[in-house]
Symmetry: C2
């Protein structure tokens, strides 16, 4: 029993004439004749009473035809679903973002994605890089926004932008007079850091080798966030380093904080999109990338696909 057989069956039930039904199915009369006969043998029931005068459907045949119509209808739905789902911009996209990007990117990203792809709702998760990577590989996420380097088997990445780091000082801090701060001086101050698991923490420590070797005055705030640290800096608990998108918007009406760039070469992070090589909705990823680049993230510099990652 095939779907073709069922199509022949309902055609014959409608036409009550082998020739006409065959024509409607674009096959020859013997084809339809044989198919119906085989179907009757397979089901071991007589579906039609044939006579010279006309073709009558049996009671059991009528019931089976009704069911066959249901099957064909449902089968047709498959094509419908496929057609509707063919658009990569249709259907929800599961997006992961690291904690140190989410709060600054998402408010801009979400409306832009919605404008570009109205039928692609975003299901967003913020988490550590490692957790996002797991979820991505499991299939719980489709695309993630992380900082490079990010290497995982089966995962491809695409750099989107470089984001310089800034020094955040409490107002009135001694370094306020400096136009730019050398990264090496971070070891001199009480540096407030995010907890382990945040890649941004590692990148800050990488920018300041002395801090990393434990010679600095840094203090780790487990389970905290950049926003919390910012408030702590404002109260004079220490200084910190923020990515530009988090730091640059600040001084606006906030007289308790001062932002200073680093001296060149500025430490920075390269932010990238990552997805499974096998992920089929590349169009959706393009939309995400475009929306990120369209977002007003202060201080960031777009990165072409070919740009090499300079030594951090």
């Amino acid at each position: 029993m095939t779907l073709t057989d069922l199509r022949y069956l309902v055609a014959l039930a409608r036409e009550r004439h082998f020739g006409h039904a065959a024509e409607r199915c674009n096959v020859s009369q013997p084809t339809l004749s044989v198919a119906i006969k085989k179907l009757e043998e397979e089901l071991a029931v007589t579906l039609f009473e044939r006579s010279a005068a006309d073709v009558k459907i049996t009671d059991i045949g009528a019931r089976i035809v009704a069911q066959a119509e249901k099957v064909l209808l449902e089968a047709g739905q498959i094509k419908e679903i496929a057609t509707a789902g063919r658009d990569p911009l249709s259907g929800p996209l599961k997006l992961g973002v690291i904690y140190t990007i989410g709060p600054y990117l998402l408010p801009h990203l979400i409306p832009r994605v919605h404008a570009a792809a109205p039928s692609m709702p975003l299901l967003i998760q913020e988490n550590y890089t490692a957790r996002l990577a797991e979820a991505l590989k499991r299939g719980d996420l489709d695309v993630i926004v992380v900082a490079l380097p990010f290497e995982e088997p089966g995962i491809v990445t695409q750099a989107v932008y470089d984001e310089p780091f800034r020094v955040l000082l409490p107002a009135g801090h001694g370094w306020e007079s400096e136009e730019r701060i050398p990264a090496s001086r971070l070891a001199e101050a009480p540096l407030l850091l995010l907890g382990a698991g945040n890649c941004f923490r590692d990148q800050v420590l990488e920018a300041c080798p002395l801090c990393r070797s434990g010679e600095g005055l840094q203090r780790t705030l487990e389970g905290s966030s950049l926003e919390t640290i910012r408030h702590m800096v404002a109260t004079g608990a220490g200084i910190t380093v923020l990515p530009s998108a988090a730091a640059d918007p600040l001084p606006g009406g906030n007289s308790l904080l001062t932002v200073r760039p680093f001296t060149t070469p500025e430490p920075f992070r390269r932010v990238a999109l990552a997805w499974r090589v096998t992920y089929p909705r590349s169009g959706a990823i393009d939309v995400i990338r475009a929306a990120i680049l369209d977002s007003p993230l202060q201080g960031v510099k777009p990165v072409g696909r070919g740009s090499p990652l300079p030594v951090g």
Copy 2:
């Protein structure tokens, strides 16, 4: 897209492993692999993300699998329906009976058929032979009970029983003294007859050539029934001829009527079943025949299939 493809699809969605899914479908891994690939091409969507690690279903794939399961379920119903309907004794049987048999046969027939085939309800229509024949050919009826001769293209008949005719006299009628009445004498009395269309009327006239030639005193009662005529005989309006099944049960407590057989050769009618040659539920017909023969119809003689129809 075939039902087989959908089975492969569902199996793969369950197993998330081409090899295992193929095994479950009793086919080789390449077979399933190719089938899925073709399905994806046909639908122009990616249903699964394949990687060395594992097989992940896409969102659109999951929706299509759900629909495919629905299709397979409905398709399975077809086999169920066929299996359930394979029994010829299952499902209603549309039975037609001529007016001059119905009232005497049906009260016996119905319970017997119900006992023999509880899941074969009878849908009964009483009518003239011509109307029954039409309905039978149209397919509105499946089997009819008529009197022979009955010849229609595409229709086969099977004699069931012979039923002799009786003379019905009002009590006190002069012929009461006679043991048996010769058919020729019917022309001497006011003979009450059914209207045209009733085959029984014709058969009575055939038994009495003088009546037929219009030399008798017969009176036709259009739109009437044997029961009505019987009451009229009781009131002394005339005499009539009844089939034995209608006549023989009468004298019991009815002192107003007298029944007399004819002299040999007794006029009689041969009652038969008729159905379309193409009608597939021969088992149902056998049940009807058996139930008729089991019914206590007074005076009737069962007829073997081979019995020739004697000249009426």
